[in-house]
Symmetry: C2
Subunit: 112 residues, 2 copies
Amino acid sequence: MSELIKLKHEFAKSSDFLVALGDKKRQNIIIALMNQKVILRGLQVTDLVEVTGLSRPAVSHHLKILKDVNLVDYRREGTKNFYYLTHENKEFKKMKLLSEHVMEVVKCNRQI
Amino acid sequence: MSELIKLKHEFAKSSDFLVALGDKKRQNIIIALMNQKVILRGLQVTDLVEVTGLSRPAVSHHLKILKDVNLVDYRREGTKNFYYLTHENKEFKKMKLLSEHVMEVVKCNRQI
DNA sequence: TTCAATAGTTTAAAAATATAAACCATAGAG
DNA sequence: CTCTATGGTTTATATTTTTAAACTATTGAA
């Protein structure tokens, strides 16, 4: 399989992730989840409502999107859900690889 | 300025680029632009219409979005516009840096 | 200078996405 | 068991994005 076909698939697979990450409201949620010092037990939906200024269903909706692309996960404690960023960084590793692969291909394909 | 605030800005600045890159139709345009062997004179809108199966205004629209985030550029020859991928890869370099920075922050912020 | 080719723009419609309101489900306290 | 807190889901609406059709502009050839 050619490099380009591989890259095409790599692109397609990263599509949902890139769109999820591109949204400014979701970026704010991500930043809020990063911004937890010392004891990282995660943030509840209501915490994120406060931080982001979005409504609860909106936060819930965006969290679902972020969860679907493996950017966040949550832990349930009683009736409370504590959301946190997934820490294996799989998706960001893929994102790094994608950018590297693109640059390799473009480097060989210089404009004359 | 804290690392996190910097990262927040880095995220925000990459927002349009990520969304532009996440769209599958635009990915197809990008792949088509990469898929030019030997003599790289660029592709015209009509070429891209054929390759992608989109209408001309749609291709034109997506090219504008890709151009706005510095992913493509074009060269005019008479009435023809030849589109090509920008070859400095500035945006992909930023994308690589962004993923690295996120991983650094998340690494320090481990879940207990 | 008129015609054909190329491609951008505007406008209107269609599709997708995001939001809020109302509702439902579950866990734990009393 | 009942009540409250938390938060997910459904539905209807609003907004945004995408698309196509029609129009316009520009270049070069006849």
